[in-house]
């Protein structure tokens, strides 16, 4: 019953956001602000995540396949394919659930409990258009961009790790990566990051926008936004894989 009510509120908020997404003038400035915060500012952490994911993948695959009767290029194939189809989207999604989701929920939660949202509404603003729309748009526009960053640095990191550890020569790594490169994997990863961006920002906006109960309420909203964001990402990952693969 409670869950149904939450779902209804969430959907209503999405509907309001969709309806007010036409008021571009209201959120234009905020949109650019958010694009920077979600996209530009997240690039360093995503690069870091990408490099480590890729290099760990390479080292571990090389270790696991050390005595196996297979060509080294297979490691390149495994690493690049895993990164493109799964890791670049999911791991950066989980990281951004913390970074972006927590920030958005805290911002909106604080604005709610300090009556800033009421103040906006009372001035005649559409607070959903002003606050929610630019954040969700920034999420769905920037997550795919960050997916590209994570993929490139993930594969690059894997390549570098193979080279520096001496386990996989770059030529073999690239050969495998290219031999098993299926464009559909990239499309799929892209789609995933798009969905994850939507999930993280909408859940965080929802939790923050309807926060109540002072500072404690904001803390609760932030925690829930992060945790629920992660859970829904994994769930969505599963559903997308079941539907599209």
């Amino acid at each position: 019953m409670y869950a149904l009510k939450e779902l209804g509120k969430y959907t209503t908020l999405l509907y309001q956001a969709l309806r007010s997404s036409t008021e571009f003038g209201t959120y234009r400035k905020n949109l650019f602000h958010e694009l920077v915060k979600v996209g530009y500012d997240s690039v360093p952490i995503i690069i870091l995540v990408g490099i480590f994911t890729g290099s760990v993948m390479t080292l571990q695959s090389a270790y696991q396949l050390e005595f196996a009767f297979i060509p080294l290029s297979t490691i390149g194939a495994i690493v690049s394919e895993s990164i493109l189809i799964e890791l670049a989207a999911v791991i950066s999604g989980l990281v951004l659930a913390g970074k972006v989701g927590a920030r958005v929920a805290t911002e909106l939660g604080t604005m709610r409990v300090s009556e800033q949202i009421d103040a906006l509404e009372s001035m005649g603003f559409n607070s959903v258009s002003f606050l929610v729309v630019p954040r969700v748009l920034a999420g769905i526009l920037m997550f795919p961009v960050l997916y590209i960053v994570a993929s490139v640095f993930g594969i690059g990191g894997g390549l570098a790790a193979g080279y520096f550890s001496g386990s996989v020569p770059p030529a073999d790594f690239l050969k495998g990566a290219r031999m098993f490169f299926y464009p559909w994997n990239v499309v799929f990863g892209f789609l995933k990051s798009f969905v994850f961006g939507f999930i993280i920002t909408t859940v965080a906006c929802y939790k923050g926008y309807y926060a109540k109960g002072g500072a404690e309420g904001v803390g609760r909203a932030t925690t829930e936004a992060t945790v629920m964001g992660c859970i829904y990402i994994l769930l969505a990952d599963f559903i997308l894989a079941a539907l599209l693969l």
């Binding site: 650019f32 920077v36 009767f69 060509p71 495994i78 590209i148 290219r178 990239v186």
Partner: protein
């Protein structure tokens, strides 16, 4: 300099898009800036080839498979992107083959000698080179039947021979039969020798597969199916070997009888085609042995990675 938000967003998106396009083209093996050559070839089938499979000339990678399409005649048309300055003569042949035991399938272009060169989009001849394993997989049963038929006919013939052999012919016949005998012995020997090699190869193969298995549980059914085919093939080979062995012992028995001078000779004189039959059988057996002897490695060929995925 302080960047405005618009500029920051612009930089991020632009860089990502450029990197994505370059990376995509690189991964798909599409030359990033240069327009490349495109040719096509039609094959009977395209097992093991996928878009992105590599194309070689004289062992040098020159391009990759672009698109695979089934033709109305249910053959397979494969378009390849070739990125080399060396022109490809008309009459070149594209051979769909595999390069080694564990490598995936690829296309090897054997250059022709014509002084005319293929143009963009032109088609060259395609040959699907079947591997030993595929032959065995498809024809294993047929082959077994053929061998046992041959042996049955041989038995019939020898029974007749037994009745019709004369002294004059005995010398010649002795020689021929000696040949047959040693050939058959070799068959058994080689098969036995190779059996061990095959076993070890399969053992290491299955070890690798089980390791891959833990990594890629998705492909388990395929791997299992593959192992099954391999096992079936081995069993069939075993059958062939046993039959050949029993044939050999039959031979020996008969030779002994012949040596002892049993039977009559009249019919053999009236039937010279017997010699011919016997000879051609020997040649066929020799060929089979040679085939197995020359390409022991091919037993493992279709266990290459590309089939597993």
């Amino acid at each position: 300099m302080k960047l405005s938000n618009e500029v920051k967003v612009g930089i991020t998106v632009l860089l990502a898009v450029v990197v994505a396009i370059v990376g995509f083209r690189f991964m798909r093996d599409i030359p990033i800036f240069r327009q490349s050559m495109e040719i096509s070839a039609t094959f009977d089938r395209a097992d093991g080839i996928s878009s992105g499979s590599l194309v070689y000339i004289q062992g040098v990678r020159v391009g990759s498979v672009n698109r695979i399409a089934l033709t109305p005649e249910t053959r397979v048309n494969i378009r390849m992107r070739i990125d080399t300055d060396v022109p490809i003569p008309r009459g070149s042949i594209a051979r769909l083959t595999s390069l080694g035991i564990v490598e995936g399938k690829s296309i090897v272009i054997e250059l022709g000698t014509s002084d005319q060169f293929v143009e963009f989009g032109e088609e060259i001849e395609g040959i699907y080179a079947e591997t030993m394993m595929e032959v065995l997989g498809q024809r294993g049963e047929e082959l077994g039947d053929d061998v046992s038929n041959a042996i049955y006919e041989l038995n019939m013939f020898l029974r007749q021979l037994n009745e019709t052999l004369n002294d004059d012919a005995r010398m010649t016949l002795n020689e021929t039969l000696n040949n047959v005998s040693s050939t058959t012995g070799k068959v058994a020997e080689i098969l036995e020798g190779k059996q061990q090699e095959i076993d070890t190869a399969i053992e290491s193969g299955s070890r690798m597969l089980s390791q891959l298995d833990t990594l890629i549980t998705d492909s388990r059914p395929q791997v299992e199916a593959l192992m099954e085919t391999i096992e079936k093939n081995i069993a069939e080979l075993e059958g062939v070997r046993i039959e050949l062995e029993s044939a050999a012992s039959n031979f020996n028995e008969i030779l002994e009888k012949i040596n002892r001078g049993e039977g009559t000779i009249g019919l053999l004189v009236n039937d010279p085609s017997m010699y011919e039959n016997l000879d051609s059988l020997t040649i066929e057996l020799n060929n089979l042995i040679k085939g197995i002897n020359e390409n022991p490695g091919r037993y493992l060929r279709h266990m290459s990675i590309i089939d597993i995925f």
